[in-house]
Amino acid sequence: MMKLEDLSCRRRVALLMDYLDRELPPPQRKSLAEHGAKCRSCADLLKSLMRTLEALHSSKKNAKPPAAARLRLRARLIGP
């Protein structure tokens, strides 16, 4: 793998996103983790992206349709 320091920001961001999405093959994943242990800039970017994903994941909870909306839908499908 090319050294991360030599990559453009855009490419580096794409690589970190692939790391987060577990789309990197194990050797690249390992190199990136090793790099992250010593490069503050990449580690900071990764951590802030992790916080972003954690926030997005939190939105998966508590999204039941309101009871009135559920009843309305059923009435429209079946009739009163």
Partner: protein
């Protein structure tokens, strides 16, 4: 799955009671998608939720038996969201942030945190959910759809591409730019003075 196929078959013949059982299986995820994409507009989210299932019942004869019902419903809901918002011209352009912002934390920890949340964490999560809704609302609808399907609903890039009829490259591009936009928004809320400093650079 056998039971689901049976319900689909009955629904294809106009059995509304059978279709209602399918609604029961999928309504939470469809409402969640609508709620996140129609961010901050609960009445619109409810409209999308209702219209999705009414349209699906009308069109279920055309549903291919080898397809996935959840994916098909997501597609209907996504189209409804897209039609609803594409007319609104005021949605902002999302710049790609090329420069990572600095933080003070020295540790380089590369794993997700795990374990059950404490009450403090739960309160923080509620706050996070509100922040997400606010930040998502600032994005164009196609970005909101990709982020919601990928990072909230947990679908793969491939599934997201199929639902939105986009190429994988387009999905990844919107996903990366959307995440960076949200990250920047969250950092700005968490640390307004640093954000102001960065924006002046």
């Amino acid at each position: 799955m056998g039971a689901e196929r049976d319900l689909i078959e009955k629904s294809r013949h106009g059995d509304a009671a059978a279709f209602t059982q399918l609604v029961h299986r999928y309504e939470e995820r469809i409402f969640r998608l609508a709620k996140n994409v129609c961010s901050g507009l609960p009445a619109e989210a409810e409209d999308v939720y209702q219209e999705t299932f009414l349209a699906a019942f009308k069109k279920i004869r055309g549903f291919r038996k080898d397809s996935d019902l959840g994916t098909w419903l997501y597609r209907i809901a996504s189209n409804l969201c897209f039609m609803r918002y594409r007319r609104k011209k005021s949605e902002p352009f999302v710049p790609l942030l090329d420069r990572p912002h600095g933080h003070d934390d020295e540790s380089a920890h590369l794993q997700f945190a795990d374990g059950l949340p404490t009450p403090e964490e739960s309160a923080r999560k509620k706050e996070l959910v509100e922040q997400v809704a606010k930040a998502l609302g600032k994005l164009p609808v196609d970005y909101r759809l990709v982020l919601t399907l990928r990072d909230i609903e947990g679908l793969s890039n491939k599934e997201t591409a199929e639902i939105l009829k986009l190429s994988l490259t387009a999905v990844k591009s919107r996903l990366h730019r959307g995440r960076l936009f949200l990250r920047d928004e969250f950092e700005r809320v968490a640390n307004p003075s640093a954000a102001a400093r960065i924006s002046r650079k």
